[in-house]
Symmetry: C2
Subunit: 160 residues, 2 copies
């Protein structure tokens, strides 16, 4: 079974809900989730926070926190996930932040460096990954796939 459908079945069977906050995946993560029939039963909202201002205004992250850690960081991925879950009142949340090709002129960090965030009422965690890709689309697709696999691992733990 496709991972999207496995996730869907688990969320549905447990009456769990999900919200997302995406930076570098720019909507592709929500797109994958909403491709599943009746995903509106558990997916309630998605934030695409492409600017610093939107991270502050939509998620409620403090500007000094963004400056302290930098938007491409494990800490910010976690804070994005935490704020999203709390703002949305969902069971779980996922977040993405990273450097899509061709890169960010304002950052010295390597292209492809990415962070996935996850939050539940019991934990808020993140994972760092380096995505190799030849294009933005490939980058987004690979990071989204990694994010869904990470989420599936978390769900497997929660249903065990």
């Amino acid at each position: 079974m496709m991972i999207d459908k496995e996730i869907s079945s688990i969320l549905r069977e447990n009456s769990w809900t999900l919200a997302t906050a995406e930076s570098c995946t720019g909507g592709y993560l929500a797109h994958r989730i909403t491709n599943i029939v009746r995903s509106s039963d558990y997916f309630t909202r998605g934030y695409i926070v492409y600017s610093t201002k939107s991270k502050i205004e939509l998620l409620g992250i403090e500007e000094r926190i963004l400056e302290e850690y930098g938007v491409y960081s494990s800490q910010i991925a976690k804070i994005m996930a935490d704020k999203t879950r709390k703002n949305s009142s969902t069971t779980f949340s996922l977040s993405t932040t990273g450097i899509a090709p061709p890169g960010d002129e304002t950052s010295d960090l390597e292209v492809g460096l990415s962070f996935i965030g996850f939050s539940s009422e019991h934990e808020t965690n993140s994972k760092e990954i380096k995505i190799k890709s030849d294009s933005r689309v490939e980058f987004k697709k690979k990071l989204t796939e990694t994010c869904l696999r990470y989420f599936k691992e978390k769900l497997d733990f929660y249903i065990a």
Copy 2:
């Protein structure tokens, strides 16, 4: 030139900005927009408002207005676009709402019926379209393409 790139060039040349609010396209519209290199220069945020609660909480649409017009309506597409542009302080905004396959059990409206909203400081408009598709992905792709073409027409008008 691909329509995405044409839109990108026009926005960049005029220092215009854009935000989106998606219901039925579920992130695919933002995905198309953010596939363009340096789209973060003009695309600042996207809302994916998959639940009624998220339409109220994220966009600030009043519940009685949603009930009065119904979420699948020209009026709501316009209000989504208007609220999004104002909340985001962008030059333009786009919105989508409609009935993705296999349909919505709570509505008598036909599958594929969709509305695109557009807002600028001079106008807030919408367009009704019937999308024929065999799957949710195809529906989302066709509606997004139509939305981008509608936006391009508007941009052509503004640069003329």
